[in-house]
């Protein structure tokens, strides 16, 4: 049990516990905020996997972007005047069935995979350059498609949020 192992378990526990809170908490705000710790825990595991760029991107995009959006959404769709925002328990039977199917599949894959185990930790080196090169060469098409999709989403969002020009402006 060396330092890296300890860190791994810490990150794993943080991820799992906060993910559990996200799922089981009746308070939506708690669910949203505990996602913060889930994302950070996952980022920590990425760091342990020598994927520094991915780890940082995980924090920037998921915490700075997606989590913010979630929290905003939760706050704005409810009466924010009150702290009490609760969820009910719905669709127990279909939910547990789907959970069982997905969980079983994952477990099956996990058991049947032939895990590659390497001896010793490979030397740390930056992945940023390689990711950049890959994006611009081998994965150029997916990269561009993703950016076009994002652009479309952006324009769509701007279109929806736009004030209706036909109605009289009041401000």
């Amino acid at each position: 049990m060396n330092l890296v192992d300890i860190l791994f378990y810490i990150f794993a526990i943080v991820t799992l516990v906060s993910a559990g809170i996200t799922v089981y908490s009746r308070n939506i705000i708690y669910s949203a905020f505990s996602l913060l710790f889930t994302f950070c825990g996952v980022a920590g595991i990425y760091v342990l996997l020598n994927a520094d760029f991915i780890a940082v991107a995980q924090i920037l995009i998921y915490v700075g972007g997606i989590l913010m959006l979630l929290v905003f959404g939760v706050m704005l769709t409810h009466k924010v005047i009150n702290v009490e925002i609760k969820t009910g328990i719905l669709n127990i039977i279909p939910g547990s069935m789907i959970t069982a199917i997905v969980g079983g599949t994952l477990c099956g894959i996990f058991m049947s995979t032939d895990w590659l185990i390497i001896e010793g930790v490979p030397p740390i080196k930056s992945t940023t350059n390689e990711i950049g090169t890959m994006f611009m060469t081998k994965y150029l098409l997916p990269f561009e498609i993703a950016s076009v999709v994002l652009l479309v989403a952006l324009i769509g969002a701007a279109y929806i949020a736009r004030r209706d020009k036909t109605s009289k402006q009041s401000v």
């Binding site: 279109y159 929806i160 004030r163 209706d164 009289k168």
Partner: protein, 386 residues
């Protein structure tokens, strides 16, 4: 209130999105209400849909108090406390009313002293108004520069009557003290010292682009609406209405001076926006300093106490006198029943009337605009609630 409700945000299919309004209380303990005013704001996010001012947190029964005084003179300290930022102007209006009731002619020197004091007080009051307005917009430093100059005015008042805020200086038939020796020189020094400071305020605040962006085209009060609501003072003049009681209904010795009222011209946006109301105050300070300088040069010698009556017992009757205080038309309606006590005193306070336009001009703006509008009206809660 009609416009804003009709223009709800619509989706591309024309279906109106459901909106939830939030009722939020600005005040009574809030830094930008300049006292204890409560603005009940109906807001849609940051957009103000309606504002309902609730007043009365500073109500001290001034008018009822006045009926229970031992005499007319005892009301003056209470009048001081109506508009504590411009106590001299308050005194001025009240003593003019009682003098008219008594039919006293005060010596000319007293008139000059009163005008000097009232105009210096107007400068001091506008300094507070402009300074706290900067504070409302977020600029802290001009506020302290303006208070620095105000302190010098208060020094002048203190050497004249002994108090810095609530003077009880103007008495029925005269003033409590004659000008102290050296006052005229000091006041002239102050006028010379003050004039270049206006440029500093303008550079630092008035013509700062952020300040202009925050105030221009915000809270536009058109002239006819201002008249309809009965606004007066800088609020009315900011809307481009050329009306100043000192010129249009002259009292005391104002007709002897060469000056002109400042009106808003809509330089940065529409006529009657917050910036106009603000700049009118800044320019009025220059005019007031002008009047003070002229008065200091013309002031005659004489005794100030000759017309002070020993006992004030006016004949039964009533009188309404209006003066231009720092905030607008200050009217005193005094009824006498022939005894030494006033039977009824009614004050028409400019802040109270000016406050009533807040809902009209802040609908559709943002909460930050509401702060800017409330600051530009320059209300003093002591006067609103009385």
């Amino acid at each position: 209130m009609t416009d804003i409700f009709e223009t709800s945000i619509k989706t591309s299919t024309g279906k109106a999105l459901r909106r939830e309004e939030m009722v939020i209380n600005m005040g009574p303990q809030h830094p930008s209400t300049h006292g204890v005013l409560r603005l009940e704001v109906v807001a849609d996010g940051e957009i103000v849909i309606d504002v309902i001012p609730h007043i009365g947190y500073l109500h001290r029964c001034f008018e009822k108090h006045a009926e229970n005084m031992t005499g007319y003179q005892q009301v003056v300290p209470y009048v001081d406390r109506m508009d504590y930022c411009a106590a001299m102007n308050m005194d001025f209006g009240y003593v003019l009313a009682v003098e008219k009731l008594l039919g006293i002619q005060v010596p000319e020197r007293v008139e000059y002293i009163r005008v000097i004091m009232a105009e210096l007080q107007r400068v001091a009051s506008h300094l507070i108004a402009a300074g706290t307005y900067g504070l409302d917009i977020g600029a802290f430093t001009p506020f302290l520069y303006m208070f620095r100059e105000r302190e010098r005015i208060l020094d002048l008042f203190e050497m004249t009557c002994g108090a810095r805020l609530l003077y009880n200086y103007m008495w029925v038939g005269g003033v409590s003290h004659d000008l102290p020796p050296g006052f005229i020189d000091k006041a002239k020094d102050f006028c010379q010292y003050f004039k270049p400071k206006i440029k500093e305020y303008n550079d630092l605040l008035s013509y700062n682009e952020i300040f202009i962006k925050r105030t221009a085209n915000v809270g536009v009060l058109p002239g006819d609406v201002a008249i309809a609501y009965g606004c007066s003072g800088p609020v009315l003049r900011g809307s481009g209405v050329d009306f100043d009681l000192r010129r249009d209904d002259p009292y005391s010795v104002y007709h002897k001076f060469d000056w002109k009222p400042e009106i808003g011209k809509g330089e940065m946006g529409a006529v009657g926006d917050c910036w106009d109301r603000y700049i009118v105050r800044i320019r009025e300070m220059i005019q007031s300093i002008n009047i003070v300088e002229q008065a200091l040069n013309q002031i005659p010698e004489g005794d100030v106490a000759t017309a002070i009556p020993k006992r004030i017992r006016p004949n039964a009757g009533d009188v309404y006198v209006r003066t231009e205080s720092a905030r607008g038309e200050l009217g005193f309606y005094v009824i006498s029943d022939g005894t030494a006590k006033p039977f009824r005193i009614k004050a028409r306070s400019p802040s109270f009337v000016n406050l009533s336009v807040i809902p009209e001009i802040s609908r559709g703006g943002m909460i930050a605009d509401l702060v800017a509008i409330a600051g530009s009206l320059d209300i003093v809660l002591g006067e609103v609630d009385r």
